[in-house]
Symmetry: C2
DNA sequence: TGTAATGATACCATAATAGTATCATTTGTC
DNA sequence: GACAAATGATACTATTATGGTATCATTACA
């Protein structure tokens, strides 16, 4: 079971890379070269990020993408929502038995709790947080 | 994204039903009739539950399945492990950048936390807990 | 006006999940 | 012992979600 799909993963990596370039626009060829993400797939992803106002795009020669807002205002949760339609961890399984539509069901409760927890965790991860982690790694 | 697959769901329902019958063996035809789970799929699932010592099977006329141990000793987490190979929520995505193999990565930390939390929640759900919930529902 | 970029969109491939079919084996009953 | 009613084992198919590709249109700079 995956919490994060490859869509989201690639989006996150690309956004991180772009964030690190400050206000310089970054093109797909550059991203492909640095991140080794399949070109067409990456393009599709970046287009979606643009549509959702995570990135701004610039067409034409010398064009590319930049962040639409500061790196500490872009949350992993945003990307998950975009590419995975939110977590929507689970509609309850037991459609009929044993719990028809009980508020008190233990299973339902747990699932909701897990979902809320996952949200709260992913809300704390921003691009800038991830970039810091990566900096430390490179410095080591 | 599903925390619980249909395998596990069906297994849980079937096990709950069987648990409610005490020591009476319950056959596939009966389960199909009551739970409306596709017959062959259910059979496969029950066979797996038998192999993993959640259920005991009894062949021949009048045969069927009973719980291999008390309902409060059968955990949802067991079933998830069996049918979904544990939660194994996520091996880290960023294979290279931005965090090569850093202990301190924010994302990794979150993912591990979520995984642990999910485990702890599912460990608390037993067949008997679910049966209680369902009882309440039916009484209401 | 040519070229380097993205926009839009339709299509294909792979893998995970869900479900089916079939034959073999065991066991109770007449 | 024969038959029927159950499970055991296993191989196959179908559906869906994910991952990935290809192509043509549009924009913008030089
Ligand atoms: S299992 Fe769904 S309400 Fe209880
Ligand atoms: S994203 Fe994997 S270690 Fe940070």
């Amino acid at each position: 079971m995956k919490l994060i799909t490859r869509n989201t993963d690639y989006a996150l990596r690309a956004a991180c890379y772009i964030a690190a370039q400050r206000q310089r626009t970054v093109s797909v060829p550059e991203l492909v070269n640095k991140l080794r993400i399949p070109r067409q797939f990456l393009r599709k992803i970046l287009q979606v990020l643009n549509q959702h106002n995570i990135l701004l795009s610039h067409k034409g020669t010398g064009g590319g993408f930049i962040l639409a807002r500061p790196a500490d205002k872009i949350f992993l949760l945003d990307l998950i929502r975009i590419f995975q339609g939110g977590l929507k961890i689970n509609k309850c399984m037991f459609k009929k038995s044993p719990c028809p539509n009980v508020k008190s069901c233990a299973l339902r409760k747990r699932i909701i709790k897990i979902e809320e927890f996952a949200y709260s965790q992913f809300k704390r991860v921003t691009l800038s947080v991830l970039m810091k982690a990566s900096k430390k790694a490179n410095v080591k």
